[in-house]
C-alpha cells in the first residue's frame, strides 16, 4: 500500500519538510495576520461573492446566536447555503458577535441550515473564523460539546457537496464543528489548530506569554496543515494579506470555491457521505508495528511559492 512505508526515511523526510518551513517569524506573522482587525470576515465575503443573500436567523427554540451567520444566496449563478463564524469590526460589534465564539444555539442554527441545504440540493459553503467555541456557563449547560459533535455529524451525512474555508482563525472544536466538508480550503495567512497559541503556552509552558514559542512548536499555518493532509488547497491572498484588498481576496477565494465545487461534482457516481467518510477516516499519522501509516503525499507544485 502506498500509504504504508518503511518508517525511518519517510518520517525524517516529513519532519524535514515541516522544519524547513518552521521559521519562527513566518509562523508568528501568520498568527498576527489571521487575527488582523481589518481582515475580511464572513459577511464581507458574503457581500462580495453572493447575490440575493437571505440571512436565516435563530435556532428555532429561542435564541439567535450572532457569532454564527447562516443563509442562502446565489453564488456565480447557483443557489448555495453559507454558514460561517462572524467577528465584529468595532468594540460594540465585537461584543455583539461575542468575538466569533459560538454558543450551542449557533451550531443548532448551522445544523438547521445544513439540513435545509441537503433537502433542497444546495451545496454548502462554510467560513471558519473563530478563536474557539464560547467557554461560558450558559453554553456548557446548553450542551456545547454535544452541539459541536452533532454539527460535525450533520455535515458528515450531507448528500450535497460541501466546501469549508478557513478564512482567519480556525480555533479548536468550535472551528471544526462546521469544517467537516468534502474540500477544506485555507487562506494563505490563516491558522488552524487544536488550541490557541496562548492556550497551548499556558498549559505546556505554564506561561501564556510563551505563545510565540508554542505557535512555532505546533505549526498552525496553512502550509503545515496542507503538508499534514488536513487541508486540500491553500487560497492565495493579496500581497501583504487579505486585509490589504478585500475585493481581490474575495475574488481569489471565490475562484477556489468554484473550482472545489466543480471538482466535487466531477466525481460522478460517488456517494458524498461515503467519500467524505473516507477522507476523514484517513487523517492521522501513526506507527503500526513499526511501519509509518498515514503520511500524506509529498507536496505538489499547485501551492503558492513559499514566502521569502
Amino acid at each position: 500500500m502506498s500509504r504504508e512505508i518503511q518508517i525511518l526515511n519517510p518520517l525524517r523526510g516529513l519532519r524535514r519538510r515541516l522544519a524547513e518551513r518552521a521559521t519562527e517569524s513566518d509562523i508568528w506573522d501568520a498568527v498576527q495576520l489571521a487575527r488582523h482587525e481589518k481582515r475580511p470576515y464572513t459577511l464581507d465575503y458574503v457581500r462580495l461573492l453572493v447575490d440575493d443573500w437571505i440571512e436565516l436567523h435563530g435556532d428555532r427554540t429561542g435564541y439567535d446566536d450572532p457569532a454564527i451567520i447562516a443563509g442562502i444566496g446565489s453564488f456565480r449563478g447557483r443557489s448555495i447555503a453559507i454558514v460561517g463564524h462572524q467577528k465584529g469590526r468595532d468594540l460594540k460589534e465585537r461584543q455583539h458577535r461575542n468575538f466569533g465564539m459560538a454558543r450551542p444555539q449557533g451550531y443548532e442554527k448551522a445544523m438547521r441550515t445544513f439540513e435545509l441545504a441537503n433537502r433542497l440540493g444546495f451545496p454548502v459553503v462554510t467560513m471558519i473564523d473563530t478563536p474557539g467555541a464560547f467557554p461560558g456557563v450558559d453554553a456548557e449547560q446548553r450542551g456545547q460539546a454535544g452541539a459541536i459533535a452533532r454539527s460535525m455529524l450533520t455535515m458528515a451525512r450531507l448528500q450535497v457537496p460541501s466546501v469549508a474555508c478557513v478564512i482567519g482563525e480556525g480555533g479548536s472544536g468550535g472551528a471544526l464543528a462546521i469544517a467537516v466538508a468534502d474540500r477544506v480550503l485555507m487562506c494563505e495567512h490563516s491558522i488552524y489548530s487544536v488550541i490557541s497559541p496562548e492556550g497551548c503556552a499556558a498549559i505546556l509552558w505554564k506561561d501564556a506569554a510563551q505563545a510565540r514559542k508554542a505557535a512555532v512548536a505546533f505549526k498552525p499555518t496553512a502550509r503545515f496543515c496542507k503538508d499534514l493532509g488536513v487541508v486540500d488547497t491553500i487560497v492565495t491572498e493579496p500581497s501583504g494579506g487579505a486585509h490589504k484588498d478585500h475585493e481581490r481576496a474575495a475574488k481569489l477565494l471565490g475562484d477556489e470555491i468554484s473550482e472545489a465545487l466543480l471538482s466535487i461534482e466531477s466525481e460522478r457516481g460517488v456517494p458524498r457521505r461515503a467519500a467524505r467518510r473516507a477522507k476523514f477516516r484517513a487523517m492521522g499519522v501513526f506507527l503500526e508495528n513499526g511501519v509509518l501509516v498515514g503520511e500524506p503525499e509529498p507536496d505538489r507544485e499547485d501551492e503558492p511559492a513559499p514566502a521569502g
Binding site: I7, L11, R15, L18, A133, P135, G136, V137, E140, Q141, R142, G143, Q144, A145, G146, I148, A149, R150, M152, L153, A156, R157, S172, G173, L176, A179, V180, Y192, S193, V194, I195, G199, C200, I203, L204, W205, K206, A214, A217, F218, K219, P220, F224, L228, R273, R276, R277, F280, R281, M283, G284, V285, F286, L287, E288, N289, G290, L292, G294, E295
Partner: protein
Amino acid sequence: MWATLTSRPVSEEVDIHVEVARTSDNGAGAPPSATSGAPAPASGGRRHPNTCPSCASHYRDDELHAALRVCRVCGYHFPVGARERIEQLADEGSFRELVDDLRSADPLGFADLRPYVDRLAEAELKTDLSDAMVAGGARIEGLPCSLVTMDFAFMGGSMGSVVGELFTRACDDAVARSVPLVSVAASGGARMQENILALMQMAKTTVAVDSLHEARVPYLSVLANPTTGGVIASFAALGDVLIAEPGALMSFAGPRVVQQTTGATLPPDFGLAESSFEHGLIDLVVPRAELRGTVGRLLRLCAGGTLTPVVPSSMREAPRPSALGRLFRLLRGREHGPAEQNGGPHP
C-alpha cells in the same frame, strides 16, 4: 519499574489541553496504576492515589481493586485504568484486543518543555499501554460487543492519531460483526502535541460513529471522570445512550478556562455528571457498581429482547435442551460469529 516513576509530580504527568482544575485540585488526576505496594506518605501536600480526595479514607491496592475503585465511605469514584475497566465490565476471559502495536509517530517533532517522545515513553512505562485507548471484542453479561476504554493516566487520556484510529477500528469491528459498540471515555481532550492532526481525530471518530448509524449498530457511550474537550465534543457525545459516572466532569471547556474567560462565578457542580443530567445532556448517571448491569440491560434491549435471559454456562451442559434452548443457542452462535472461539467451548 513503576515504583521509580511514582515520585514524579502530578503536574508533569497530567498534560491535557483542557485543564481539569477539579481533578488536579483534589489529586484525582494522579494515575490509578501508579501505586507501589506500600503506600508512601504523600509528599508536598499531594495525596496518595489510594487516598480518597473527598473523605481522606485510605485503601490498600487490593481493597480498592475489589471495591471497583469506589470509596466505601463516601462513594467517591477513583480513576480506573483502561485494562482494569475492561476487567470490571467484560465477562471474564471474553476480551480479545483488536490491535496492539499502534504508536504515535510524532509527526510534528513536537517539544515544549520536554519532547513529546519523552512524554510518550514515560506514559508507556507508567501505564503499560501504547496509547490512551484499548479496543477489542468482548462480552458483557453474555452479550457480544465491541469495547473501547480510555486511560486518563496516559497523557491525560488525550486523543491523538492512535486513539482516533483505535476508535475507528472498533467501529469497523462492530459493523463487521454487527454487534453494539460500548465506549468508556476518560480524557482531557485532544492531544496538543499532535495539534491539527489531534483536532482531526474529532472528525475521524465522528464519521466512524456515522458508519455505526448507517449500519444500525447501537452505540453506548460511558463518560468517566473526566471526559472533556475534544473527546466529549466528538464520539463520546454521540452515543445512542449517554451514561456518566457520578461526579464525572464532562464539560467542553474546563472550569478554569470558563472562569478566566467570562469572569463568572461557577456553580459548585459546574460541568459535573449530575448537573449535566439536570440540564438534559445525558441519559443516566450510574454508580460504578451498577454500570455493568446497566450496560448489560441496554445491550439486551438493543438486541430486541430476544436474547433475555442469558443462559448461564451451567445450563449449557444440560443433557437434553428444549427446542427453545436449541433455537436460542443457534441464535447465540450466529450472534457471536468469530468471537465464539474465544469464549470457551461451545456446546
